[in-house]
């Protein structure tokens, strides 16, 4: 494919909302609800109602092409295995409900490793067994990225956090930089990569200073500055910036492995202590909360329990959207019985913005101009309305990565992203 430079657009971040408050740790909810689905693939439940489970015990196994286990975030008793809860995908999913006994009894597998003696294969195995998935939002099993046979030149840690509002990675770097660097070293060993870079937006000066201080003695790890644009955190964008190469399928084609900050920290705990991925930082932000902040929670926490800890909803906001994920790519969820799953980065409650009178498309072409994958959203929307699927396939609607920029820039507030996603689904189901 011809090398084509991806453009980005500056979007006001409004990160200050959740950055000023400290991270709150809330790791003892009364119940946890572990969703039995990930990336749309159902998981097989391995426990039954009444079972006593220990923290870190495998309770479910996701099948499909890239199987990965799921672990009990707390110790306690399984009280239900099919209670439906709202999930970040915008649908209700079945969950395993565990009643917390507040004992934090750890499973036998959780014990320190002799990290120096581990081989590449052993590290990859640990990463798989600990259920480490991409915490940037994709939930893609991380071990798959390391199993490549292609040579990896560089490990890229994605610290761009280009979505507005979210500050989870920001707070992680600020408070856990040593664990991050430890995790990066394990990733380098797992991929045989000679060097690593931490790609971060150049506007996050505070973090760059922290990183530079801690990386002073690390020869192979450096900081890479990204422009303050959206979608700077898109894998393809970062690889293009760092490696000056592009690829079609996985970044390994360009000799890179890209991991999120949260993933690197999870890997550090997995490799040193066999600690599975059962906790993560979630940003609670938006004008609908009284005290927007980052919260360190167990996977499977019902967000209503967190809500009580962070001061509840702002009562002045009557009509609001509950968004699971970032404001650009997240999904609106109808009810707040939402559970935290492994790659939920943020929960946003913001007052509903809607314009009743919208002009017709005037054809300004801003959507075509801005699209990072060079689609022509307005043409795709019209073609979809005409049900001309041959042409849709030629327009490559299936290349859409749902970044939301076309809808963001549209002066007539047309739901372009939605239309392109529908076109993508229509093409996929027709094949």
């Amino acid at each position: 494919m011809i090398f084509r430079k991806i453009k980005g657009v500056h979007i006001p971040g409004r990160k200050e909302m959740s950055i000023t408050n400290e991270i709150l740790t809330f790791t003892n909810p009364e119940h946890v609800y572990v969703p039995l689905v990930e990336q749309g693939v159902p998981a097989t439940c391995l426990v039954k109602v009444g079972d006593k489970v220990k923290l870190g015990q495998v309770i479910a196994e996701k099948g499909g092409r890239f199987p990965i286990p799921m672990h009990a975030p707390v110790s306690g008793e399984v009280v239900s295995i099919n209670q439906k809860m709202w999930h970040a995908s915008g649908r209700m999913v079945e969950t395993v409900v565990i009643k917390n006994d507040f004992q934090e009894t750890k499973h036998e597998s959780i014990k320190p490793n002799n990290t120096d003696a581990l081989t590449r294969e052993q590290i990859i195995e640990i990463v798989k067994n600990c259920g480490i998935v991409g915490l940037g939002g994709s939930c893609f099993p991380t071990y798959v990225k390391y199993q490549t046979t292609l040579p990896i030149d560089v490990v890229i840690i994605n610290a761009a956090e280009c979505e507005p509002y979210i500050t989870a990675d920001y707070m992680l770097i600020k408070t856990r930089v040593n664990e991050l660097i430890g995790g990066i070293k394990f990733i380098m060993r797992a991929t045989n990569a000679p060097k690593a870079v931490i790609a971060i937006k150049k506007t996050k000066e505070e973090l760059i200073e922290i990183l530079n201080n801690h990386l002073a003695n690390e020869e192979n790890i450096s900081v890479f500055l990204l422009p303050d644009v959206y979608p700077a955190g898109w894998e393809k964008y970062i690889v293009q910036k760092v490696c000056k190469k592009t690829y079609r399928g996985l970044p390994s084609e360009a000799g890179a492995v890209v991991n999120n900050v949260g993933t690197a920290i999870a890997i550090y705990h997995a490799v040193t202590n066999n600690m599975p991925l059962i906790e993560k930082v979630v940003t609670f932000t938006g004008d609908g909360f009284n005290n927007p902040q980052n919260v360190y929670v167990k996977i499977g926490t019902d967000i209503r329990e967190v809500l009580a800890k962070i001061g509840g909803y702002n009562n002045e906001v009557t009509e609001a959207n509950l968004i699971a994920g970032g404001p650009m790519t997240g999904k609106a969820v109808a009810f707040d019985s939402l559970v935290v799953h492994r790659s939920l980065g943020s929960v946003i409650v913001q007052s509903r913005k809607i314009r009743l009178v919208n002009p017709e498309c005037m054809g300004c072409g801003k959507c075509c101009d801005i699209c990072p994958v060079r689609l022509s959203p307005i043409l795709i929307k019209r073609t979809l309305e005409d049900k001309d699927y041959e042409l849709l396939a030629d327009f490559k609607a299936n290349n859409c990565m749902e970044c939301g920029l076309c809808s963001y820039v549209c002066p007539s507030r047309i739901e372009l992203t939605d239309a392109v996603v529908r076109a993508k689904t229509a093409l996929a189901t027709r094949k």
Binding site: T329, P359, P411
Partner: protein, 408 residues
């Protein structure tokens, strides 16, 4: 556990540029249209000063228009805007039964004044009001509303109105003084620069410029011509404003005028002006080229939406303008070129949207090459025609000389 709270379901993304309602934001369609109208204001004032105020202030009382005649060029444009607004209101209240607030909302998202306003600016200011009305009827009702209103029209409404009026009522306009204002009627300038050119295609550049003083005058716009479109300078200023405010795509005017300039320079070179840019500049600053390129060719509804499509569109416009100007029957070429290319906008979009995402290098190169070949062929044709004219002239002159000699 507390009760569930219900939330609204909307589509991602949850932040939109269009939601930013600050006056300086560039996000929403209404702001874009507001900026568009703002950019027209200096040109409207210029049209009035040139055709109304300056003749009124001249020293010769015999050539001085009456007070109402002085205001006429300004009123003419405003009335054009009023006509198209009123016609659209009438249309929606008659056929869609919209009343009151509903009607006002519809009109506010349909930007009803713009076609008439533009039509008033590109018609000669001597056009009678009833002709303007018929032009507005064509522009608004036939070219815009019958296609489905704002966003659905295929042809630029103002240009359809313009072409209709020029084709059907040019005689009427000529009778009332044509393109000239009262001062110009009496002066050495007897025609618009392009009219002058059309009647003497073989004339030397000095002869072409002589009636208008200098290239600078043509650039500023102090030459006879349609209402507001003579000033290239003001069009460039409007272009800068519209580009900064992200209303128009800067690539269209730049590529359009660039292509046109290159072709006219080649024609000039073949006619013996290889080192004299005045020939190319004469064509650049006359007629409605700058106005058309900045305000008409960039009209987003009727043009292509894809960025590469826009480049091809602009190149085609340049090539066709040259073709129509040097080979066609009318001295202008901009309006016909834009209307012709409006027809191709959908085709260009379709091809270009595929090319943008295509991985097939050969296909991309072949498509662009075919397009380039097509454009080169048309250009070669128009260049050969315009050079022939000159040689023809020279041949005629030679024959004439021989005859004169013989007679002696």
């Amino acid at each position: 556990m507390t009760e569930q709270r219900r939330f609204s379901l909307d589509k991602a993304p949850f932040i939109r540029r269009a939601d930013n309602l600050k006056p300086l934001s560039v996000g929403s369609t209404s702001v874009i249209m507001r900026d568009f109208i703002i950019s027209l204001v200096p040109l409207i004032i210029f049209a009035w000063v040139k055709n109304g105020l300056l003749p009124y202030l001249n020293d010769n009382p015999a050539l001085r228009p009456s007070f109402l005649e002085m205001l006429y060029p300004l009123l003419f444009i405003l009335i054009g805007g009023f006509f198209s607004y009123a016609l659209e209101a009438l249309y929606y209240s008659l056929f869609y039964k919209l009343r009151g607030d509903e009607l006002l909302t519809k009109l506010s998202t349909s930007y009803a004044v713009i076609p008439g306003l533009l039509l008033g600016m590109i018609l000669p200011h001597n056009t009678p009001i009833w002709t303007l009305f018929i032009g507005c009827l064509f522009a608004t009702v036939i070219a815009k509303l019958l296609f489905g209103g704002f966003g659905h029209n295929i042809f630029n409404p103002a240009l359809i109105g313009y072409l209709f009026v020029i084709v059907a009522y040019l005689g009427v306009i000529q009778d009332r003084g044509g393109f000239l204002n009262l001062v110009e009627v009496d002066g050495v300038t007897s025609a618009t620069p392009l009219g002058h050119f059309a009647s003497n295609p073989g004339a030397s550049i000095d002869e072409l410029i002589a009636p208008y003083g200098s290239i600078w005058n043509l650039f500023v716009g102090l030459n006879p011509g349609s209402g507001a479109e003579t000033s290239a300078l003001l069009c460039i200023l409007a272009f800068a404003y519209l580009t900064v405010r992200k209303v128009i795509d800067w690539r269209i005017p730049v590529v359009y005028i660039g292509t046109f300039f290159v072709l006219v320079y080649i024609i000039g070179a073949f006619n013996g002006y290889a080192l004299d840019l005045r020939y190319a500049l004469f064509h650049l600053f006359t007629g409605g080229l700058f106005f058309g390129a900045v305000f008409m060719a960039t009209e987003p509804v009727t043009g292509p939406k894809t960025p590469n499509g826009r480049i091809l569109y602009a190149i085609s416009l340049g090539v066709l303008t040259v073709l129509f100007r040097f080979v066609g029957a009318f001295p202008e070429g901009v309006a016909s070129a834009i209307i012709t290319m409006n027809l191709f906008a959908i085709l260009l979009d379709r091809i270009c949207a595929k090319l943008r995402v295509s991985d097939n290098r050969t296909r991309i190169i072949v498509t662009y090459a075919v397009f380039a070949l097509f454009m080169v062929l048309i250009s070669v044709y128009s260049i050969s025609k315009s050079v022939f004219k000159n040689n023809d002239k020279a041949a005629i002159a030679e024959i004439a000389e021989v005859t004169v000699y013989d007679n002696n």
